[in-house]
Symmetry: C2
Subunit: 368 residues, 2 copies
């Protein structure tokens, strides 16, 4: 990440330099012309991207943000830090394998972990609906505390707001986190090179599928659980064993693995080929996706990362991941190619291939 | 603040030590027995306190949090940092003198500033209601960018979620901020001593009164504007001129100056006397409060701090503040006494006095 001091400043030189970074990291900066917010603006796909690139990024112009990693970079007294924040509006609040509180901790921890930063401290904002049963709140507070302990972070501050009955769906959460940027790797969204390998840390699509089934709208039952967990152990192991060979990591949340690879293909101006047969998907997820007509590549994960690594460390990286609990199905799923820049192709088991673009619309609203 | 490293850890020793801190900082830890969340849990008064002390604090047990300042303390590579977060649900979104976006930046900047930390970086979480007019969003994004520039901080990351129509009130915001702890002062909520002076940085009650009038419920008009602004310039000036004499600072948001002084009286186990005649209140605020039957001491400010200082620096501190724009009416409003611990008395201009307790209920919902 580009080192950045914490000072403000808006000299024309600096703005030009930052605009240059934005230009370099984006092949085609999005425009934001929508007149109304739709559910798809929150889905992590094309509409989210146009909102970020067309409205938010130009307004908040700075180097840490321009890199558009999962966390922003800044410095304090010469110490390199990363900071990130997430809001959580998942419905239902509890689901097999987790709850909104666990997601809130792990989601923020994971944004730091995949940015190559050791999570240190979290804050917690609660927006509560008037009339909420405090037993539900207590349950989530306990889930947050347990997840924070498991992830090795402290909740060092927070804030609580209450809105009138009907103006929230029980509770929303906002977490922010700060981490110490790790010297074992220099990760960047723009550093992918032809020949690099694309790895995933385990089987995909479990979180999103779990939420969909937990809502009971599909009258479909399957024994699937959310994969919500801290990704710091796997990020830490990769940094330790193959640090210099890691180009970039992403946690594959909203929009799934498909969005993560698409964003990186665009940021690094490279192409990618993903081999469908090598992508690990649990049979229950594959079955549910099939019936629902959804590609698991677009389904959210809350405990899986995608790593882009130099070819010479790819096998070792997979081996390292597979040795960790929960990552037994880690796999090498694809390659980085030179062109066409920004395009991701999915090779089917039958030898054909299809374009795998960013998600359009929002097939799975409020999954985190 | 207690130095604290970022490592997790839950040794019995450590827990005992932390429980000791909590015990020391609280004369009577609150219990949380309510079965439903009410608007008063978000109002910053007694109900908020019981929620924090009875449920959140015991669950998230750690030293940075136990100090219960406006920001939590932690260290990264030996650098002392502070971190805070806030959620904003103000209604209406725009009001004379400001908007939700400005509040979101200044509220977080101010929590850092009064904790004696120079604000460095902010993150922004947006929870948007489906159907929101994007012109309103654009306006707030611009307000955030302008407020961040004015406050000298960078927005280095963020997150956007969308909920279905009706499940939010246009938009909610969550900001988090990190600041560099300033070596010019050692602030602590437990350090107030009998003889210390209580100062405010200007006239009070303007933000809350503005919001109330902007809602149009009272058919009352007055030329009052929100005081929302960054408090770092005034905090910085105080740290520079009288740093070692400052015991603690607070920004007097929800619950107003009354809540700030009550919290500090409890944390430091001291009494306080506030002289009503010395508290600066604009005539329009005094008039509106009078008609509405609300004491301006309980009304929220978004650009005023309360400073607790050693007697020998009190006059100089007031002088320093008065030299700054917006702080012309800074004043010495009261004294710290030895007992009864935790009690705040208001001396009326007629020589009598009354107890000024924490706010009960929520006379002014969603003012920030």
């Amino acid at each position: 990440m580009t080192p950045l001091n914490g000072d403000a400043g808006g000299s024309p030189d600096r703005e030009e330099r930052i605009l240059g970074i934005i230009e370099k990291t984006r092949s085609k900066p999005g425009k934001f012309k929508d007149t109304q917010i739709t559910m798809s603006h929150g889905a992590g796909g094309k509409a989210t991207q146009s909102l970020i690139e067309g409205l938010l990024l130009p307004a908040f112009l700075n180097e840490g943000l321009a890199q558009l990693g999962d966390a922003g970079a800044f410095q304090a007294n010469g110490t390199g830090l990363a900071m990130t924040s997430d809001s959580f509006v998942v419905s239902p609040l509890r689901f097999p394998g987790g709850s909104i509180g666990e997601l809130a901790v792990n989601g923020t921890v994971n944004d730091l972990a995949v940015s190559g930063a050791k999570p240190l401290a979290l804050t917690l904002g609660l927006i509560l609906e008037e009339g909420l049963d405090t037993a539900i709140l207590r349950q989530e507070v306990e889930a947050i505390a347990a997840a924070a302990e498991a992830a090795g972070v402290q909740i060092i501050g927070g804030d609580t707001k209450v809105v009138e009955r009907g103006l929230a769906d029980s509770m929303y959460m906002c977490t922010a986190g700060v981490g110490l940027r790790d010297p074992r790797a220099e990760l960047s969204t723009t550093s992918l090179q032809p020949g690099d390998h694309v790895l995933v840390s385990g089987s995909i699509g479990e979180h999103g599928t779990t939420i969909m089934l937990a809502r009971g709208e599909f009258e479909l039952e399957a024994s699937i659980e959310s994969d919500t967990c801290s990704l710091w152990p796997v990020a830490d192991a990769l940094l330790e064993e193959v640090g210099p060979g890691i180009r970039c990591m992403r946690d594959a949340t909203r929009g799934g693995v498909a969005s993560a690879v698409n964003e990186l293909a665009r940021a690094s101006k490279v192409a990618m080929t993903i081999r469908e047969k090598d992508v690990p998907v649990e049979p229950a997820v594959a079955g549910a996706s099939d019936i629902l007509g959804i590609d698991p590549m677009y389904v959210a994960n809350e405990g899986k990362l995608v790593a882009f690594v130099a070819p010479e460390v790819a096998d070792r990286a997979v081996e390292v991941m597979r040795s960790l609990p929960g990552c037994e199905r880690a796999a090498d799923i694809g390659d980085v190619k030179g062109s066409p820049a920004g395009m991701v192709l999915m090779e089917t088991p039958f030898g054909s291939s299809r374009t795998m673009d960013l998600l359009v619309g929002d097939p799975l609203p409020r999954i985190c």
